[in-house]
Symmetry: C2
Subunit: 358 residues, 2 copies
């Protein structure tokens, strides 16, 4: 840790004593899933293939090979860890296509979200829409969704059909989450409730992590109750992640987060700590509402807004909520995978997800 | 027929002596598929559901009931007719979800194409993006693709898994077709070949009609060769349709087509007759290239451009190609469904598709 504008409590509180296991699981998942992803992207006709190869960081825009990373592979690692926890190495091996399918869906949503949010950088490279245009980004996203569901449907595994239905259902939830997010950003801060902000975060972030774990369980032939418990495990991990990510988005160190301190406040984002603060009924809440209604602020103003969110209880609420979600994560995991040895991988990944600083 | 700027030969040449059978098949398909579509749309969370209900013409933007049509249901009718031709009434009844899934995919592409093409009217109503914004139109389209594949995956029919894989594969082809179309429109008319224009039309228009017929065949438990023949039947019908649609887009009667005469020329669209004319190597081709490079033209100019396309052989080529495709349609149909009685429905629909004037 180096010095920072405000001490990132969250990072130190949640900083892992040891995340070696998660790192190994993620590396292994990447090594196994990337060839499946490349084959899927490679099966597309020329221009769509080029956009896909660029997006995943395997090619530059001109078609020359690139060495950019294709992402952390958290979702594939969750699929594989869930299959392994409930069905051992055979189930884990069988779930490889499902792991790749979940990653394709994740990347389909990134392509479309970047168009909608006008985000210009993704994994330290210009986003697809900035390089190829909106139309190509939309079409490549559409194609990735189709590739994901085709990959699962072509899988001869007995869980294939149920997995397609579940992943497609998750896509509807992801779309609803993104819809709620974009609609919420257009509304007056005073009109947004904490309940709907949490529901949005669950749909946008929790749903796919939950689905990843549920697919792993399905491929292990797990009972419906265990599939549901692993879905809840993934969802709660996702919510814990979002809460911590939102805290970092306000008080985090830009050298760790990769975005300027207070960026979420500068953009007037209705993130979870902000909505918790705005709806706290405290005097600081009224002050915050006034500050959030005013136009763009300088760095000093942003520090003051961050302080006001904190005084209105937004930071404490988010950290308590995150801790509460992590407790539920443990509960759901213990319910589905009572053997701590078998549950170790999933737990390591959940802790990795919620301790990330960038 | 009433008087028109230029005599729409195509319409009269292809005008059906009798399309009563197709009308009955389409009405019956609509009556059966609409409840399945409404249930699928109704399963989505609030805002996405509202957008879906608006797009299909069942609700106004404010949520009040609307009486707009949800489209002709040509693709669902093809699924049901193909299942019926190869498997009789039982296969037809079993293929209902597949019929709805194909229509959902069609509507997903309409939602996204309208955003990309900035089309403001669809089925005589403002397009979704003009009413709800681009983001909501993109997200509703994404959700419709997922609903389509979920509907098929949840179908307990033994063909379900193969049908999901085939429909998802078709989506990739549709995306590639739309990608080629948008990319082609940005290119210099002189650089576009007839071969790639035909390939684009096949991917954009033929693929889903082919897939509709193939899904019907799959649900009838047909052999791979028959599934392939029905796919080819649908594809060739789609190409014939596109050729005729492009002819109507230049020489059609606006009172029948619903768009102003010469609209495709005014927009400098690289439609099939235009590309055929441009690549004909005739003196008229060079003249056309000059005319197409010039800025927007008035009505008199458009009539002259249309005449130049005709002099360069674009109209004759398109009509001969359409006739050739229709011959292949008959061949493929006879191969898969030798009994003319059983093939009647599919033939009536193919003729309806290629004889439409609006």
């Amino acid at each position: 840790m180096t010095e920072s504008m405000t001490e990132p409590k969250t990072e130190s509180e949640y900083r892992p004593a040891e995340c070696h296991e998660a790192t190994i699981l993620l590396e292994r998942a990447r090594a196994e899933v990337v060839p499946v992803l490349r084959a899927a992207i490679g099966s597309m006709p020329g221009p769509l293939r080029r956009i896909g190869l660029y997006h995943f960081g395997w090619e530059n825009a001109d078609g020359t090979p690139a060495t950019g990373g294709s992402g952390k592979a958290i979702r594939p690692a969750l699929v594989l860890a869930a299959a392994s926890a409930l069905g051992g190495p055979a189930a884990r091996a069988a779930a490889l296509r499902a792991a790749a399918a979940v990653e394709l869906v994740h990347n389909f949503t990134l392509l479309h979200d970047d168009v909608m949010d006008r985000d210009t950088t993704r994994r330290h490279r210009p986003t697809v829409w900035t390089v190829f245009g909106d139309d190509d980004a939309i079409l490549a996203g559409d194609a990735l969704q189709a590739l994901a569901l085709r990959l699962l449907a072509e899988d001869p595994h007995p869980a294939s059909r149920a997995a397609v239905a579940r992943l497609a259902d998750c896509v509807v939830e992801l779309c609803a989450g993104q819809q709620a997010d974009t609609a919420m950003e257009r509304r007056d801060p005073g009109e947004v409730t904490l309940e709907e902000t949490l529901a949005m975060a669950e749909a946008k972030t929790g749903a796919l992590l939950g689905c990843a774990c549920a697919l792993g369980a399905l491929y292990a032939g797990a009972a419906a109750a265990d599939v549901a418990a692993l879905d809840a495990f993934g969802r709660e991990s996702g919510l814990a992640f979002q809460l911590i990510d939102d805290v970092i988005g306000i008080w985090g160190d830009p050298r760790h987060t990769g975005k300027p301190a207070g960026a979420d406040l500068a953009a007037r984002k209705k993130s979870l700590p902000v909505v918790a603060a705005l709806t706290s009924g405290t005097p600081a809440a009224s002050e915050l509402a006034g500050l959030y209604g005013a136009p763009h602020a300088d760095e000093e103003d942003l520090e003051y807004i961050a302080l006001t969110v904190e005084r209105a209880g937004g930071r404490d609420w988010a950290q308590a909520q995150a801790a509460d979600r992590m407790a539920r994560v443990m509960q759901e995991l213990a319910r589905a995978v009572p053997d701590p040895e078998a549950a170790g991988g999933l737990l390591a990944l959940a802790e990795f997800v919620t301790r990330r600083t960038a």
